[in-house]
């Protein structure tokens, strides 16, 4: 039960100590540690948040007085906190929710994107440095340094704890949404529910804090609609494509909630990229899929984002309508040579066109680029269907396919000059 309170309220409790992010983190940690000790013995207090905040505040005062590193400032801060702590612990006090200020600080564009993501997961999500390091496949020390550096920059450069002014808000909100969506996608590709769930939790907090902004609604809708298929996306650790998924495993409640959120976003005149993406995610859940509508929406999205990846997705939809030939021509013009899904998409088009040797090479390129274990196995499976021995070492595989291609070319027509 404390675990639930922790997950739900960590960010809320931490945010009340804003002013110094390291102090806030220590105070929140102290408060939850005290709760872990007392609550099982004395029972959960009637106002858990109030208890946590007041306890954290008292511990913070002790800490500041003990350390006295910045004597004057610290004394001032301690006095301020002490005044607020006068209120009785048993009293049901309403504490202001300052998570929104906190998330705008964590996602400040003066911090690198890596730092924004790590800091958001740490301060709002309550993930430990260890957990974040594991999620992003970097050594603990690297992640620890990244977080420390970011916290020090916030302190030293005085990155404000504030909701940005109206003129800055649209850009800053985009940055916040991008961080949350990046966390979701990190979890999605790996088939890792924990990160996706964390991103959804953050998305819910954003909607709660900014109920009239269409973009957070649309982002939450998008994540819920995609995540609703989570249980069906893997069978015995193997990736299952949408058309082959067991639809009875889809989370209906989540789909309904996602659709309702999307409806609200559209009612608020949302027309941004997350609205379009959520609408596309929604269309993908229909059976049969309306590929014309999907292609049209990808066209709209491509206009909005200028993204070649979106253009590639439009080509995938077009291939469903007119066959892969034109679609292949379209994607071959895209600058996506370093993108895993570009090569897997090409491979799929080539396979469907019966150009197996080229398909095999394309699968090899995709395999070399994928970071996800289930995707690697999926691509190997596809290659195997094309009659290539699956080799754990892709470089050998690559050489194999190259030789293969040369032989095939030798047996073919004379090259024209």
């Amino acid at each position: 039960m404390l675990e639930d309170v922790f997950r739900q309220e960590w960010g809320r409790v931490l945010a009340t100590f804003l002013g110094d992010i390291e102090l806030a983190e220590d105070a929140a940690q102290d408060a939850f540690a005290a709760a872990a000790e007392r609550w099982p013995r004395d029972g959960q207090p009637p106002n858990p948040i109030g208890w946590l905040i007041t306890t954290g505040r008292n511990r913070a005062i002790d800490r500041i007085r003990r350390e006295r590193a910045f004597a004057d400032k610290a004394e001032h801060l301690a006095r301020q906190l002490a005044e607020q702590a006068e209120e009785s612990m048993d009293e049901i006090t309403v504490f202001p929710d300052e998570r929104l200020e906190l998330i705008f600080t964590c996602c400040h564009p003066a911090l690198s994107l890596d730092a924004q993501v790590a800091l958001t997961l740490r301060t709002l999500g309550g993930l430990s440095t260890e957990e974040i390091a594991r999620a992003f496949l970097v050594p603990f020390e690297t992640m620890s340094k990244r977080l420390t550096r970011a916290k020090h920059k916030i302190r030293d450069a005085v990155i404000p704890f504030a909701v940005p002014s109206d003129e800055l808000l649209p850009d800053r909100l985009d940055a916040v949404l991008a961080v949350v969506y990046l966390i979701f996608n990190q979890g999605w590709g790996e088939g890792r529910g924990d990160l996706a769930a964390e991103a959804i939790r953050l998305g819910r907090a954003l909607v709660e804090l900014m109920p009239d902004e269409p973009d957070p609604l649309a982002l939450l809708a998008l994540m819920l609609l995609n995540d609703s298929r989570r249980a069906a996306r893997f069978r015995n650790d193997e990736l299952v494509l949408l058309d082959e998924q067991d639809r009875s495993l889809w989370d209906r409640a989540q789909i309904d909630e996602g659709r309702e959120l999307l409806r609200r976003a559209i009612a608020l005149r949302g027309t941004g990229p997350y609205v379009v993406q959520a609408a596309i995610a929604d269309l993908h859940l229909e059976e049969p899929r309306d590929w014309r509508e999907i292609a049209t929406l990808y066209g709209v999205l491509a206009q909005l984002t200028q993204s070649p990846v979106v253009e590639m997705n439009r080509a995938i939809a077009l291939a469903e309508i007119n066959g892969p030939e034109d679609a292949l021509e379209l994607i071959d013009q895209l600058p996506l040579d370093d993108y895993c899904y570009f090569h897997s998409t090409r491979a799929d088009f080539l396979r469907r066109l019966g150009r197996n040797t080229e398909a095999r090479i394309a699968y090899g390129r995709a395999l070399a680029l994928t970071q996800s274990e289930p995707e690697r196995r999926f691509l190997e499976g596809r290659m195997l269907e094309l009659g290539t021995p699956v080799n754990a070492n892709w470089q050998e595989l690559w050489t194999y396919t190259l030789n293969d291609l040369e032989q095939e070319l030798e047996g073919g027509e004379e090259p024209t000059r």
């Binding site: 400040h108 003066a110 030293d156 005085v158 404000p160 504030a162 800055l168």
Partner: protein
């Protein structure tokens, strides 16, 4: 809170040129506490002490494409305010280079 706006310019920009009237105007804003312009980078001498003695090197310390051309000290409530002021100066000096914003360490 004080911030230093370090204005870096490309070597081909002659530092001794006239200051544009818009920049002069911006420099007289109340947030600007002080400012200096530097002579061209080629006039720099770098002092270091790799061993026991002092070594003098002709030229700036960092050999880069852009050189520190001037420094503006401003007063701002927080980084957002400082960045907004920096952006104003950058848009006026766009042709010359980039601006790095650094919080000033105040001690004592």
């Amino acid at each position: 809170m004080k911030y230093a706006l370090l204005a870096y310019s490309r070597p081909e920009v002659d530092q001794r040129g006239e200051i544009l009237p818009e920049i002069t105007e911006a420099l007289s804003r109340p947030e600007v506490k002080s400012w200096v312009r530097l002579q061209n980078a080629e006039s720099a001498t770098t002092v270091s002490s790799p061993g026991d003695g002092t070594l003098l090197t002709d030229g700036p310390f960092v050999d880069s494409k852009e050189y520190l051309g001037g420094l503006i000290v401003i007063e701002a409530a927080d980084l957002d305010e400082a960045l907004a002021i920096a952006a104003d100066f950058q848009s006026l000096m766009r042709a010359f280079g980039v601006i790095e914003v650094r919080p000033i360490l105040e001690t004592g």
